[in-house]
Symmetry: C2
Subunit: 210 residues, 2 copies
């Protein structure tokens, strides 16, 4: 098939997505950005098992509710912690001020509490008894702070149990392979990052700080 | 039917949505937060005309792509301008520093350019020749800066033409009624806002400024 997924910002990729955001999809002449839109497209195109995006009206609404909520919450705060803890010291060449890390960690913990209380409750998965795209998106985002060295699962047994079940549903080996990069992020050095990407992150971090 | 939509933070509402975010939906014993999840639920439940959320794989992906992108872009920057321009002076009792307004306006204009170039291009609507939930969500968010007194359509003829067509598709009178509140926002005074809501906005604005 002519389907390609881009995960790096190459020149060919620039033609696919003028926003220069990863990931991006190219299916023949059709191009698509935004990871969630891509997941939904793939689920529909390849008619994946129903539980990933349930046809049941209420279960599907639970998945949509999470996918909408997570942008400025789990994703926003998780990637902010990653950028602050891993990239800020690389960009400035200075150790991170402890109070800065503390405030970003606190913001993440507020949304983690909401995630447990509102979305997970006492169910094994967000949509109920079966794993869905919502769990997949949630866990992938939570691996960013883990990759930055903040193991948020340590003091959250309910979340740790949910993680174990999502990993099992995805397949432990596949999950491990998919997260190799982010789990080695702690050993990143500035010379391993493309200069235009460094500039991009610098800009993002300065904006957050202003 | 037992279906209710909550648009205000009343006590009854608190029981529906522990996150205390508006809007929220209650359909019998089923409750749902997040405006986009609610729109998708209503479209499915009431089998609205296909163009709102097209069954065509690629058109639907365009709608999903916009609905995912807009959270931290059109919505994020549009509501930041609203909060800064209308609520910050109310909360501080001080006029807004011009450089603050300028930087928030610039952020919004960057995402407006992306919206025109990437999502609208030369099509009448985001998904192509027909109006969809993506256009509806986009226009509703853009009415926030308009309500704050920044008429972003004035210098953007393509965007103004798109707005005219979306309004027409929705129905001009319905559109007007739905936006009466936000279009009167300029005349808001602090005593007309519930104290806990004022606190909430104060917290949000201070976070953005830190």
């Amino acid at each position: 098939s002519g389907l390609q997924i881009f995960a790096d910002r190459t020149e060919e990729f620039r033609k696919v997505n003028i926003l220069m955001k990863v990931p991006a999809l190219k299916d023949g002449s059709f191009t698509l950005a935004e990871s969630i839109a891509i997941l939904l497209y793939l689920a529909r195109k390849f008619k994946t098992p129903d539980h990933w995006y349930p046809s049941d009206l209420q279960k599907r609404a639970r998945v949509d509710e999470y996918l909408s909520w997570q942008h400025v919450n789990i994703r926003g705060k998780g990637s902010k912690l990653f950028l602050t803890k891993v990239l800020l010291p690389l960009l400035t060449g200075q150790p991170l001020p402890p109070e800065k890390l503390e405030s970003v960690t606190e913001e993440l913990n507020i949304v983690l509490n909401q995630f447990e209380e509102k979305f997970l409750q006492d169910k094994p998965f967000i949509a109920g008894s079966e794993v869905s795209l919502a769990d997949l998106v949630a866990l992938v985002e939570l691996m960013q702070p883990v990759g930055a060295g903040y193991d948020l699962f340590e003091e959250r047994p309910k979340l740790a149990e949910w993680r174990r079940q999502v990993e099992e549903a995805v397949g432990k080996q596949l999950f491990q392979e998919a997260h190799e990069g982010i789990l080695n992020a702690k050993s990143l050095t500035a010379d391993k990052i493309a200069p235009e990407l460094l500039e991009h992150f610098k800009h993002q971090l300065l904006k957050q700080a202003s």
